[in-house]
Symmetry: D2
């Protein structure tokens, strides 16, 4: 059986590492190239001792033309601004691109300029890109050449609230989203040694950051707005909590109409019927990040709060899983028409 050749650009961060873990045991692909500016020339298994005996690859320098030479599909786990430099080269060579940076997530180039502080240099790519959340955009992904994989916070926030928003069941003012992420989420690119990410500082600590200003906000609003058919503003606060993997999202959504928890659960079940990676939990069961670690699952539940006429919508994902690399692999499977579970069969790692 011939396999598809895949490459990973930006292999030295945690998203890149997770892509490698998944792709090296994916039955339909062969990993043919990995880049890292910092580690170019070094064997992968020196930077990643867990991969010892699993690959003889070496990091290559970041070079879009070379990537187009060695691979049919290229995953980009690059910092934003760098993806938009590589994508035009790859697309011109007709390579499929699965971008995990923020560069192609916002449809409106002016939103990009506002939140990222720089003009977008590849408007053609922006026009072509599909937002890689299969639960919302499966058909478009199937025919896409360029997929923009959602940010980890948007993935959790959108999946937690989409059924309410699309159904017109929510009031669109007053949505509050509070997220708690493991440390591989922050600073995932390049394993930066910022003092704030030191064990001694992050351990036994909880902190908020990006108060009223996190760049994932417009991404959430874009997708929820598209579902609602109108403008949505969310108050979004991300937090760092002391774990490696896991992202828990708690959304408080004002209800447009009185609904019970059972009613809400029914809406969610219908919305996610047939989805291979979204698990709507039974009433009373609470999502935990523990139950999804290492996997592409998103566990969700919803509870009515009649006192405040709101719904509490919660989701649990692995920020490197449905919040990044594993979701990227699901997109790959859709692009090629493979079973969506291919390479994602392994159950979550518990405990």
């Amino acid at each position: 059986m011939t396999t598809v050749r895949v490459a990973v650009a930006g292999g030295s961060g945690y998203i890149g590492a997770e892509l490698l873990r998944l792709l090296l045991s994916h039955s339909k692909v062969t990993v043919t190239g990995v880049t890292s500016e910092r580690l170019a020339g070094e064997r992968l298994d020196r930077a990643y001792p867990h991969l010892r005996s699993l690959t003889d690859l070496r990091f290559h320098e970041l070079d879009a033309a070379w990537l187009a030479d060695v691979a049919d599909v290229v995953f980009l786990a690059l910092p934003h601004m760098e993806s938009q430099r590589a994508v035009p080269v790859l697309r011109q060579r007709h390579r499929k691109v699965i971008d995990l940076s923020a560069d192609y997530r916002l449809r409106d180039a002016s939103d990009y300029a506002t939140w990222y502080g720089a003009a977008h240099i590849d408007p053609a790519g922006l026009a072509e890109a599909v937002y890689g959340l299969p639960e919302l955009h499966r058909k478009a992904i199937a025919g896409a050449g360029l997929v923009a994989v959602p940010g980890c916070y948007p993935a959790g926030a959108i999946l937690a609230t989409a059924p309410l928003i699309r159904g017109g069941l929510a009031r669109l003012d007053g949505i509050v989203i509070d997220s708690k992420s493991g440390l591989t989420g922050a600073g995932a690119q390049g394993r930066k040694a910022d003092p704030m990410y030191l064990y001694t500082e992050a351990n036994e600590n909880v902190q908020a950051y990006g108060l009223a200003s996190h760049r994932h906000t417009p991404e959430i609003e874009q997708e929820l707005g598209a579902l609602a058919g109108g403008s949505v503003r969310v108050s979004f606060t991300p937090h760092l909590v002391p774990l490696n993997r896991g992202l828990f999202t708690t959304a408080s959504v004002p209800l447009a109409t009185r609904m019970s928890t059972a009613d809400l659960a029914g809406v969610y079940r219908e919305f996610y019927a047939g989805e291979p990676f979204v698990r709507v939990l039974p009433e009373g069961a609470r999502p935990t990040t523990r139950a999804v670690v290492g996997s592409n699952y998103c566990d969700v539940t919803v509870v009515a709060d009649p006192r405040t006429e709101r719904a509490v919508c919660v989701s649990a994902i692995d920020n490197l899983g449905k919040g990044g690399a594993a979701n990227g692999v699901q997109n790959l499977n859709i692009l090629f028409g493979w079973h969506e579970r291919t390479g994602l069969e392994a159950p979550p790692v518990y405990p």
Copy 2:
């Protein structure tokens, strides 16, 4: 110098342990009794090896009359329903009582019945009790015989939002409060061995609980309502995050009027001026639970979100500190007219 005799009822849980840690090095008091149903007869330092060489006390069985015999002030770190059995005995004997259970926090006995599922059996005590948050009720505490120390979540939530609420600066609908607690908060009483609290289950895990139903909700609403001079409803969601100590609260409060972050900070600074244990952080500095562990401090900050016309109000406390035992000691100091920092001088333990 003669010292005041203090006793701790319910010494086998984490709140009791923290009270003992603080009281054993408090210069104005002598610990004369500690009770535990489960450990009665056993030396304290067998259950608490960290106290070895610091005390020769033994746990006594729970007996209110005995407590009145041995102590001038009694801290109750008992489960709810048990405090209200002990308080009448102690008050009849004119002992001052600092209750850390939920039994005397809600002024309205019908609220108690609604949220705790049982009638309150000591309405006289309820009428006498003062809510032990010095930042709001210092004068009343000074003359009190019975102090109801706030729950950990209410302590964090009220201190994060009080300046906005009292000033009429907030809209009272749509307040959303999201809290993240260390594991000593949940199951603090008795060090319960529920599987959910096992290391292997709680480590590398985040979960929400008490969705739309946590018993600290009415306590928050009571105090914020009193500040607002009207009814307040909050959507409150507590979470467990993997740390021993620490409670981080993120409140999203709709603003009644347009204010900048600097405006809001000014309001907070004025509100907490002179408070020995509330630190309003400078703009740009973010509270972390790391900075308050082991202490009675509450670090707060507030940021305006003009996009949503809301304020993000955050606070960080030690759930056993300002969220429990240390705050109880501050109340003790106020009851006796001592300097409020007495026994609470030690800086937070970092890291």
Copy 3:
């Protein structure tokens, strides 16, 4: 393709959970039964939310005859003393048994009586059992009907030191073995809610236990003694350190002859040549448990200490991996002549 039917007895502990995780995605087998006294009748995915959508099985009560009905191979993840009651029934029915308890690891029934405080009731089984460490006993395993999978500490200790011991390079007096285990190791069976295993007690804590008395000691001595061709006594101390998975072993072995680190490394490389799951690290690289989590790998390294005429031999395994369930699956693969990596292809989960 027909698959082999496998069952897991004792599915409610962490070893059982890990077996299920691995077997549910093993291409050659179908899981046909799982037992748990405590959870009999309950769906697996209620106790194990991570398995939701992956299985519809329910726990069955422990019944050896039923296990023989439903399965061709039975994994026993039972407490010691219980395995030896089930094994005779299963063997009489010609079922292959992979036992993860301690019951069949010690060849000498009197050792069992000494260390476990009870007579062994299945001497025939004891005579038949093969010690399931493929790196030492591959051929015997291939033809076995009953495999006794090593304890987690012995697996790490034996693999760290075997090349020195077998080669006659070590002095057999004065071997000291110090092991550090994650919390899934202790109390792995049944997820016991002992207070010592509470998050709040085990987090930020290190402790030794079983000083000079741990039951894995004779197992280590038996296997090293067999390699040495003589009696071996080891001073063994196990520790609990705050992590879920991982077992790090540090052995100090007196050298019989002066050897350099390079000499020692050569011995190890030769000893483990061709082993699919033992990785002898290059000089200067240090094993970390991080690099093997979730896998069947054992990373080892050895360093000469000429000052003390000793070697420092270290190994890192996942206590649920090479220290238990994954090693059990490797034994299964050997029993059936499958490629040894079958079902164990997934790289370690980093980070």
Copy 4:
């Protein structure tokens, strides 16, 4: 009451931070100066948010003459090589010096050259320095001008084994010491942002380092040798385990004569009788780092292993406590003839 003026040189690392925490609430001293090359000019409470409201000091650049101007006693929490540049200046000005670096711990300058790779530039200081372990050298410390506070590993290792060594009860060949340290131990100086100390790398990980080569080895051998009255060689292996504070030492010591656990415990009790900070645990009680965090305590226990004719000697300390800063404060108290518990009264922080 006039207080003694103390300064801390090297205030930006964890040892410096812990000294400040302790000295700011020490009743006999006033902190008059703190240096940091990196943070010179910055307010302490900006680098250390936990100290907000507790001090208005600013970091000063490292300048020994300035330190001599502002303080009567100077704590040096500097990297090795830097202390020996500051000490001569301070001693010439008759300031008392408590050095927490490695520079004055080894009596023999040639040992220093061997292990630290450079000649010592202050032999006069070396001749004057007293090894600051009060349990061994209390009298000498009382009259000293320059105290060399033990490294964290030597503190734990020496206290675990000293009673056996001094009593001639141990055989001096074959001592094996295995230590497990929290992350504030490694990289304590300057809060270095080495990738190895990132949360994501250190969390859920155990690793050994400095195999057969750690610089604390000669320090342990020097002190045990002095106790034994002869040369001692130890096989020493340090490990990093995922916690912030805590250092657990497990020493395996060959016995010169057959002794029971009770015999050994008697020896330890006698050796440590009257010591304010060493707690010999009752038989069956096991030291845990949990019980000493935040304090100057060292908990020790000893168990006989008649099978191997060895003793297992274990100790638990806080690496920043008895392993560094708190022990430094105990030395300060001895230097000035104060009660040894002054400033160290607070019980350990549990949990």
